[in-house]
């Protein structure tokens, strides 16, 4: 019989306000095997833990139940506490009487009754707990960063600086990401390229950093400290070692009509191309879909002009398999498609553009050479209208329910830059709210209004109607005046909602990292563990976790790097001992369990088994504890009940069921 101690936490008033803690203590004390029961205001505090430790020592407890907050919060705390007091940490069970009880119920009687039942279930379970010993696993001291934008670059640089090797995988031909597409950055109006390209160069030159561009993650196996990742390097058709980056091939390429992704398809590019002048690596790729050589077999001009002999039409995709201890997701964002917002006429007029397109138009290296002009006729606009929250804060299913966070600030930036450069252009911004939390942010927005005379109208736009003369009639509302207003504009800029890059979903599946309903990766704790995914060894950097601007992205990238460095600095990790094991007396050797094991952790052995004196050779399932992650799929597939899961055994779970139904 176990000697069990029960510790009931008040959590200040979080629990005690709705659960009569003393009655829980009383009820628990009456349960069989319980030799000690007490309450304390904050069980997780040092004093609370000291109480637990001394009870373990003084009363020789063999198992403890802590009735407190969610085990996801403090299970580890109490396990460590037990361990320090000489009790096996897996002899600890938590009854979640806060998140699952006191916080969801109002009635004291009801909540107290439920808390007692939850305590009983935990007591019933701990009766069947057995001491478990955690194993150890090695840490591969190398990190993988998926995504080569500012988030990925910064994270990689910080990890590399700490002395660990890092690989960056970027799906585009160059690193740089969205930030490379921006013209200026708020709130200080630095030129985006001027502050980004030095970091790109630094990453490329860093001895600890390897960059795989034009590459994608194909497969991930393994677990924290020991991931194996297959990276598909798409065929570049250009030999990276030979290419000198002279650019002659791009100049001579006769296929020039491909929409230029980097310029948001506002211009065109050649089939052999580098996305932008400062690309890293400065080695072009051949877009085989549009290359005449690949389409018809005729051409080969680039090969002819390449003095270095770097063009290689025979290259094929290459899979690189590499081991990593930690993986960082920094896959960034894209703007949403506007096909469900026909009222803004984005598909009906060339002069209705997204803000990201405006960035390219304003950029000296962009399709208009940095000159503000209408894409329909090249004329300078006189009247510009910016529309905020296009697809953001939209809960009707057409857009995104969240605030995209960056639009208020970049719109103020755009308005300011335009008014500064072209004082004759009238700028009107339709807004619902102007959101400027951040250092010097509100001051920045106010400057746009007070110093640059940007006309802010509180109200949303209901329709943008192209007029026969090529202008655009913007019908909006002015909520301060309480009326509908109309502005005839030359150009309309939509602050389009941002969404996680579409690759995030597939990647999250491969990493078994969870994503939320909007496809943003979920953090392990929204406040306390914001850069870690709930999946050990997977970390989050940049907008893949949620909308954020550049200063915030860079801070988060640093935080993420710190977490990765913390992991890589360890020589070994303790493994989860809650793994499956097979009872050789019960095992039929039928292979059903191996069929469902996602980790390939189950193999079969011919083994001589002594079954109550009868010896015989049997085919027996054997679990590799280093590979098993403890999901339990095998235990249910096993018809004979030979397969069981430590820590969540059949009998433990049934004991909980019985306690709840009692």
């Amino acid at each position: 019989m176990q000697k069990i101690g029960v510790f009931v936490c008040h959590c200040g008033t979080n629990i005690a306000a709705t659960v009569d803690v003393l009655r829980v203590v009383e009820a628990a004390a009456k349960e069989p095997g319980v030799v000690h029961a007490q309450d304390y205001p904050y069980m997780c505090s040092e004093a609370g833990q000291a109480l637990i430790a001394s009870a373990i020592r003084d009363k020789g407890l063999t198992g403890i139940v802590v009735c407190s907050c969610s085990p996801r919060m403090h299970e580890a705390t109490f396990r460590k506490c037990a361990e320090r007091a000489g009790l096996n940490p897996y002899m600890v069970e938590i009854a979640n009487i806060r998140e699952h009880c006191s916080w969801i119920h109002k009635d004291m009687e009801e909540a107290t009754q439920k808390a007692i039942i939850l305590a009983r279930a935990a007591i019933a379970k701990v009766h069947l707990n057995t001491p478990l010993a955690a194993g150890h696993s090695q840490v591969t001291k190398r990190a993988l960063v998926i995504g080569g934008g500012i988030a990925g670059i910064q994270t990689a640089l910080d990890i590399a600086e700490a002395g660990y090797p890092v690989d960056i995988v970027e799906k585009n031909p160059s690193i740089g990401g969205r930030m490379a597409q921006l013209d200026k950055t708020f709130p200080t109006l630095d030129c985006s390229a001027c502050i980004l390209t030095p970091k790109m160069v630094e990453a490329a030159a860093h001895p600890n950093i390897r960059i795989f561009t034009y590459s994608e993650v194909e497969r991930v196996t393994g677990f924290v400290g020991d991931f194996t990742v297959d990276i598909r390097k798409h065929a570049r058709s250009v030999d990276m070692d030979k290419c000198t980056g002279c650019g002659l091939c791009q100049e001579k390429c006769p296929s020039r009509k491909t929409p230029d992704e980097f310029n948001r398809a506002l211009g065109t590019r050649s089939a052999i191309y580098t996305p932008f002048a400062q690309a890293i690596p400065n080695v072009p790729v051949i877009d085989r879909e549009h290359c005449i050589k690949f389409k018809t077999g005729k051409c080969g001009l680039c090969q002819t002009v390449c003095a270095a002999g770097a063009i290689d039409y025979t290259q094929s995709d290459e899979i690189v398999s590499e081991k990593y201890g930690a993986i960082v997701v920094a896959t960034g964002f894209d703007t949403i498609k506007l096909d469900r917002f026909g009222e803004y006429a984005y598909d009906q007029s060339k002069d209705v553009i997204t803000s990201l397109e405006l960035e390219r138009i304003m950029n000296a290296a962009g399709p208009t050479g940095g000159h503000l002009e209408r894409l329909s006729d090249g004329r300078m606009p006189r009247e510009m209208v910016f529309i905020q929250c296009v697809g953001s804060r939209c809960s009707d299913g057409r857009g995104k329910s969240y605030c995209s966070k960056i639009c208020c600030m970049y719109t103020a930036k755009h308005a300011m830059l335009i008014r500064d450069k072209y004082p004759d252009v009238n700028v009107t911004v339709f807004y619902i709210d102007v959101r400027t939390p951040g250092k010097n942010f509100d001051e920045f927005y106010r400057r746009a209004v007070e110093q640059y005379g940007v006309n802010y109208i509180k109200g949303q736009v209901g329709k943008v109607a192209p007029l026969p003369d090529g202008r655009l009639r913007v019908s909006g509302s002015d909520l301060i005046d309480g009326k509908a207003v109309e502005i005839t504009a030359d150009m309309v800029v939509l602050a389009t909602a941002i969404e996680p890059d579409p690759s995030a979903r597939r990647l999250a599946s491969m990493l078994t990292a969870s994503i939320d309903t909007n496809d943003f990766l979920t953090e392990a704790h929204p406040k306390l563990r914001p850069v870690e995914s709930p999946t050990a060894g997977v970390y989050l950097s940049g907008v893949s976790q949620g909308p954020k601007d550049i200063p915030e992205t860079v801070s988060q990238a640093g935080a993420c790097a710190a977490k990765v460095i913390g992991l890589l600095a360890k020589d070994r990790l303790t493994t989860n001992p809650c793994t499956a094991h097979s009872d050789q007396l019960l095992c039929n050797g039928c292979s059903a369990c191996a069929n469902v094991c996602p980790y390939g952790a189950i193999s079969y052995e011919q083994r001589e088994v002594n079954d109550h004196g009868v010896r015989g050779e049997r085919r027996i399932a054997v679990v590799n504890n280093a590979l098993c992650q403890g999901c339990g799929a095998c235990t249910v597939t096993c018809p004979s009940g030979a397969m069981d899961l430590q820590g969540f055994s059949n009998r433990q779970l049934i004991a909980e069921v019985d306690a709840i139904c009692r």
Binding site: I432, Q460, G462, L479, G482
Partner: protein, 126 residues
């Protein structure tokens, strides 16, 4: 919440508390200029529980039920439904009709389609 507000929410099946006060309904409304209380103010009045203000609004009879506001509302508040629900409350309570049967013949012409009459009757009285 007043009984009237509650009834309006029940009849409309729309929730004015979802409104984030962006004004897109008014911006999208082709007859907003004619209305004494604009569509966005409808949602706002209801959310504040000032539904009685709405009972005498001309908006009840100006709204065309063209659903532009319903289609474009980013928060699924469906202002057109709210307006119609207020109108329903008015006609149900007093049997009040915007047009009386006596007034109608002089408004008719030869080309007028049945559909117009039927719709107008449905809208203007019960």
């Amino acid at each position: 919440m007043s009984e009237l507000t509650e009834r309006i929410m029940e009849i409309s099946g729309a929730d004015p508390r979802k409104c984030m006060k962006c004004g897109k309904c008014t911006a999208a409304c082709p007859v907003a200029g004619e209305m004494d209380i604009k569509p966005h103010q409808f949602a706002s009045c209801l959310a504040k529980g000032q539904s009685d203000l709405l009972l005498s609004s001309n908006t009840l009879h100006k709204c065309l039920s063209c659903f532009a506001c319903v289609e474009r509302c980013p928060r699924d508040v469906r202002p057109g439904r709210l307006i119609d629900a207020v109108r329903q409350c008015v006609v149900r309570a007093r049997g009040q009709a915007f047009l009386t049967p006596e007034e109608i013949p002089e408004l008719l012409d030869d080309e007028l389609p049945q559909q117009l009459l039927v719709s107008a009757f449905r809208r203007y009285r019960r």
